[in-house]
Amino acid sequence: MHHFVKGMFASLGIIFAAASSLASNQNTFSEDERAAILSHGPWPPKLTPDPSNRVSGNQTAIAFGRELFRSRFLSASRRHSCITCHNPNRAYADGLALSSGVSKVDRNTISLANLRLNRWFGWDGGSDNLWAQSIRPILDPRELNGSATMVAKRLRNDIPFSRGYKAIFNALPTNHTDEDILVNLGKALAAYQETIVTPRTPFDQFREALANNDNQKANLYPLAAQRGLKIFVGKGKCGLCHQGANFTNGEFDDAGVRYFKPSGGIDKGRFGGIQKLEKSPYTLLGRYNDNPSKVPGVATRHVARSHQNWGQFRVPSLRNVSQTGPYMHDGSLTTLRDVVMHYSSLNEERLHLDGRGLLRSLNLSHQEINDLIAFLETL
């Protein structure tokens, strides 16, 4: 009897504890917070072919682009390939602070994923489309150090690659100019890279459970991550820039990272990116855009270079972010803890005028820092 009562109290206690933890999970988010959380989905996104690239979505082009991506044939020395820096086993990045091909590059390699969602490419948005961004490393003397002439010559002399090319572009490379060949290879590389999409994550499951008011499923999401999420959409204001399903608004901002290049000089950031666009023959406004009405070119037509673009870099997506360190355009922050510490104690004087009012030192507690990291790890 005695034991029975004791046992009953004990199990009641467990029930109460379970019930109250359930209640605290359910009521954690206000209506505003809930709306903000739901805005980071759904995932995966619906993707459509790129209208500026006539082989986007073409299976033959995708297979050919995959070969090219792995082949050393695009590098002058035949020693490097896209994979040198965009390693599929490292989330299509290289795990290095600064990337290195023929020689060191001043920037961190961007992990390749969900590229159909980008409006701009590169840390400075120096390209407005994926095929142009795929040509860039072929020509960069520090990366593959090639040229249109070199690539065209090699392609014409390589029977299997020539055949592959013809199957997609309806002519042997001997019938195309060097420049056309370069751009077409960029388009095949783009078709392949568009297929790299990150899978659904614990965050996506949580978001869906929240959307469906399924508390049982929502409770599978760790409490620490839930608390971190609350900071992310709340006082951290992270979601203002890391917005939407891909956790980026696709634009440029100053997150208080130094912009002196490791090799000396200043990284002009977005300012330099717009200058590159103004000079490039490969933008959506140029003759290589396959869409005759140049429809996707609206951003390029209206982009405005201004003083505030100095020191701005593209807001990176946070999908898969636990796999893509080191972080920031110059790889200067090694771990997610470093990043969260950076936001927690920002050098406010370093920030541009336009960053003020938005980014402030968050002065997070030890637990808040851990919570924010726990959240980022679920993306």
């Binding site: 608004n249 696709g250 209206h302 005028l353 336009d354």
Partner: protein
């Protein structure tokens, strides 16, 4: 949609019944809208966004009608911009404005890249004077 129709009708009357240079019909403009009318100095401005609902990170355009309530001349030109005063930044894009008919303009290439409070600004120019007409928008 109904707004668009009224807008077109008001435009139609203006141009069919009077010489092209005649002042934009303010009565027509006022009837044409509910809530998107702005007034400052001699100007009454009405605008419609395309698409109707604005979304963070999506480009949009505007159709704008401007009339004067005191018979003073219609504006020669118009500039459209948007800023986020709380964050002290503007848009990353510069809109292009076309004067399609007396008192009627279209603007293209606007994009608000953050959720929160924005000021949509119309700088109306007539001769050497510029008048700023602004309105607050909240983007979720």
């Amino acid at each position: 949609m109904r707004f668009l129709l009224l807008f077109l009708i008001s435009g139609f009357f203006t141009f069919s019944s009077e010489p092209v240079l005649a002042a934009f019909n303010c009565d027509g403009l006022q009837k044409a809208t509910s809530g998107q009318i702005l007034e400052k100095g001699p100007y009454r401005l009405v605008y419609r966004t395309d698409p109707e609902t604005l979304t963070v990170g999506k480009f949009f355009g505007l159709t704008i009608g401007i009339c004067t309530t005191d018979g003073s001349p219609l504006p020669d030109s118009l500039k459209v911009d948007a800023t986020m005063p709380m964050h002290s930044h503007g848009m990353n894009y510069r809109s292009t404005v076309q004067n399609i008919a007396p008192g009627q303009f279209t603007a293209k290439g606007l994009m608000m890249h953050m959720a929160g409070s924005w000021m949509l600004q119309f700088d109306v120019r007539q001769g050497s004077t510029s008048t700023r007409i602004a309105t607050k928008l909240t983007l979720k």
